[in-house]
Symmetry: D2
Subunit: 346 residues, 4 copies
């Protein structure tokens, strides 16, 4: 940590900082500049120690000099992580598209969607059995019966499945049916849940919170990894900004930024990221062009009648058109990803 | 719901809207304006039905005309709700100040803080035993031992206690020790947790999410109320904006807005709302002046040595100064609250 | 406009709304729904009239049903606008890349950059002679001498030039040297300037404000168009959000959204949109893949020594690499643009 | 500036940093820590120099250690600035309320409002003759005739007047009629305008931009002060956030923050800050309680018929009620202001 004294700070104040740091069993190097004095704290510091320093008289600011995440950082591991689910790779040379209905409604719906998306090139089936809904009066999913139908669609098509786990008590249940456990945006800082999915032997798809910084997000991944599970897939799904025409603002820059800061694969969810199906196709393609390791996309055989998120679901026809675009930009996306991954970490 | 057609929408498109609505067992009234046609949907609609309408050709927008929250709305209950904990009232004539350490560290710390804040006028003791921390490597609280110390400080002082419950599996444990269950900002959309605290027979203090709109927040309250618990205290704790000098942007307008929209009491947390103790006092007083029903404030006997959030904790001396200001503006705050409560709901 | 009454509004209150509207020489259609009454205002309304209605007792909300921009709207003109500058087209079949130094520093710098970017495929030269700087102590550009050097580089290479005009009094001067007048993000709501560039016979490149909604931005274009100049190029350059790792959050969804709402061409500025050169290449390519009509990119022969924005400038080598990616995704981008342009306007 | 090297940076990379700094005629002190090396740059640095350092290999981050504003900083001047207009003080012991119509509509309207607000305790009359309007089709004010009526109302009541100047070419005109020149939120980074009002011998009321950080805002003040005019009044008027129920989010914490960082007076505009008159009163009072040096409030004799911003205008009756509250909390506000002003600057 670097302690910046304010202009005119006294020698006594600088000495008090030195003693405070000594009390933490750390050393200091003191630089007396033209405008102000700066005290470098030498040794392994703890984020909490910043608060005590900030309170000392004469201190202007305290700047941390290390990233708070360790296992998730590219400083810790230079090679890109590839998460494997059966013979599907996330983070490998090809982008991995995960598609399916927002919410599972019937065997017919999920199986027909699974077939359609597989045929168009999806490698993972998505579908919701437990749904976080802003209103308690909205349909919250079929529960275990939905999981059973999802598994059935998986058996019919050979696609592995990803589905959301909303709480600690459901982890065992969901893990019995799912190949990848999804932690949703609303649970992006539900630390009990992150701890527990970190103890499961299945990959975790971790969405960014509505208002989560890159650092918050990587620290959420750190929770999972610190608990023992290194197979984390990050998923950008849009942040909340002043612009309300779109459901969220899909932050495509998150893709190269994460490839800079971390070795973990990162995919994009253009369905929640925009909230309007007309925007899903161009944004999906843009994400892949920027180097995304994959996509998570909502597809419904008849979106007008969907029980949830119809406005943002693609029809199978639209999904095929999207996949054509994805294939056309995949090579450029790979070059972008690799170029960023090789650059220095900041 | 109101369906707004775009300019130049054809008669066939309007007819398709009419038929779609008829298929939902609802009626329509069609207004042909100068610029465009507008279709009013008559009957009890469901938020989900908006999506299907939005997808129809020729539809520009679909505007809901009812609030999605019911029990939390002032339209449902005109009288202000007063939440009672023993002989303490939240939402009554006097503002109720809840104060104590961010995290419980020792018997000495929590008991001495409890005595100091009680003497200065606090009516509820706060203290964290389970702490949500952005980093998995930060101190996460003493757990049940912390709860035990909190209870002990309560017995010493007679102050009821509020403390955070971070997950469903801890509810029983926390409810054994606490008088008010706090749901934190990071769990503001943890719907399983909201459901479950809705089944507990203790008041719930519900913080606004970092990026929660007023509607999101009232819908979170609706979850608790729909599950059976009507004793909800809302707590504004700052939202995430582009300004990063302060930890969050404390949205004081939330206080009169909630008093407009809802009958529930609303308090403010200026400690998390600013992140800097120098700002806590003026912001606490401003919140009361705007009509807040109370405050949640971090106080520590020796903030320089606090294990969490030292930079935003008041010393007991500062807390006394804050309470002087609170008392000085309480009468004005009550007038503001009552004036807003009487005004029409929007 | 649609006036939504609150639940329990009285007949007298509805009648007062009807009379208020009649006083504005407009008609009403009154729909009495199950939960509440809704009054549709028929006739050409004015945004200002909303305020008066909102104040009436019993009124819950007033919803506008027309877009406030007219000339900029795709409802007014279905065909995409192509802006022409000599033989360069913006909005035509090929994306148009505008590149050059942030700030003009010397003849050698601007001419060598112009040659390098032309060779790599840029069609327009950018360069700043008047620079808006957050600090009054930063270098604010060479002024007219910079414009002269920009013109010289244009003559050397045949590239038309775009440069910023910062105020009304400089319009004549800048227009003597520039082919396209740029209005910067900080002036996105400088209405005097918008009015005046609307009277110039040169295309205007209009950046989105830091905190400008799509509607604000299109209304800024409307100012220019209402004053007589229909040749407006919109430029997405990132918005301000809570994420501060990047300089701004480049909102790539703005590209398909603008193609939905408007017939005007829209380009992206990934340099200001990210603030870090490592991110410029993937974001430039993503923008084109999403259907952008072009790019505005900062290139400097020696970014380490740039007087402004060195951290976000590409070297000529990096720029060539970017152009390779742009060409690889241009066809997909065109398909995306055309698909969105054909869809209904919302 | 502090240059933070990344973990594993080589000796050659550290040496390259040293040489780069030497090339800027500055010295370095190199601290080799456990995790990483940190290079302190000694001497007077320039913000631009950060970019070049950031590009060097092995550099993780570059942290500035001085504030970019000088004259506006409390480090430069400890004593609070009091701005005087005739016998009115802004920044003195009493809060100064400025009130009047959003836009001047007629002699009757402005004179009657002036009388009403004076009687209730306002010390300055506000009124718009030139109005920045988001839509080019909205009423943009009466122009010089409006200024004449404002002056007339000033003569009738003895109140000095504040009114907005929208562009450089109007400064002379507006300065002939106004006592305080207002620079609006949309012009908060119109640097030509800031430069020019810095050359006028009248106080400047400088609104914060929609998306302006505290630093942006103080740098805007620095423009005015660097040009020679030290009489700057800052005005918080709400920032743009994800919450759209209110017109803006009034950031009351800005008041103590500015009192921390700067010696300049700061007032609040609760009318634009909320956009709804019901919220104006509690927010005005909260701002004063937090230590604001004054208010800027919209008052209209008949808000239902106002040509602009009727929804947020107070009636004279409401204004009187607001002033009662202001007086009740003024003493507490003064204590808050003084306490913050005395604290160390950060």
């Amino acid at each position: 940590m670097i302690v910046i004294m304010r202009t005119g700070a006294t020698e006594e104040q600088v000495e008090a900082v030195r003693q405070h740091v000594a009390g933490l069993n750390l050393n200091t190097i003191i630089n007396r500049g033209v405008e102000r004095t700066v005290v470098a704290v030498v040794g392994a510091t703890h984020p909490e120690q910043r608060d005590g320093l900030l309170r000392l008289a004469g201190v202007l600011d305290v700047v941390p000099i290390s990233r708070p995440y360790k296992r998730a950082s590219r400083e810790a591991k230079h090679q890109n992580t590839v998460v494997r689910v059966g013979d599907v790779e996330v983070g490998g040379p090809e982008p991995t598209v995960m598609a399916g209905p927002c919410v599972i409604e019937s065997e017919e719906q999920v199986v027909s969607t699974a077939r359609a998306v597989k045929e168009a090139g999806a490698r993972v089936l998505r579908g919701g059995a437990f749904k976080p809904r802003t209103s308690p009066y909205s349909f919250r999913g079929m529960g275990e019966e939905g999981l059973r139908l999802l598994r059935l669609a998986s058996q019919e098509t050979g696609l592995p499945v990803v589905t959301e786990v909303m709480g600690v008590r459901d982890i065992d249940l969901v893990a019995r049916y799912a190949d990848i456990l999804q932690v949703g945006a609303r649970n992006a800082q539900n630390y009990f849940l992150l701890d527990e999915v970190g103890r499961v032997d299945k990959p975790v798809l971790l969405k960014r919170g509505f208002a989560g910084t890159y650092e918050d997000w990587l620290l959420a991944a750190e929770y999972v990894m610190a608990a023992g599970n290194q197979d984390v897939i990050l998923c950008e799904r849009g942040i909340r900004t002043f612009e309300t025409y779109t459901r969220n603002t899909l932050d495509i820059a998150a893709i190269p930024v994460i490839h800079h800061l971390s070795h973990l694969p990162v995919i994009a969810d253009p369905s929640h990221g925009t909230g309007r199906w007309q925007l899903v196709i161009p944004m999906a393609i843009a994400a892949i062009a920027a180097g995304a390791d994959g996509l998570l996309v909502e597809v419904h055989p008849d979106p007008d009648k969907a029980l949830s998120d119809g406005a943002q679901s693609l029809t199978p026809d639209n999904f095929r058109r999207m996949m054509d675009g994805v294939r056309a930009v995949a090579e450029v996306g790979r070059l972008n990803r690799n170029a960023v991954s090789r650059l220095g970490v900041r």
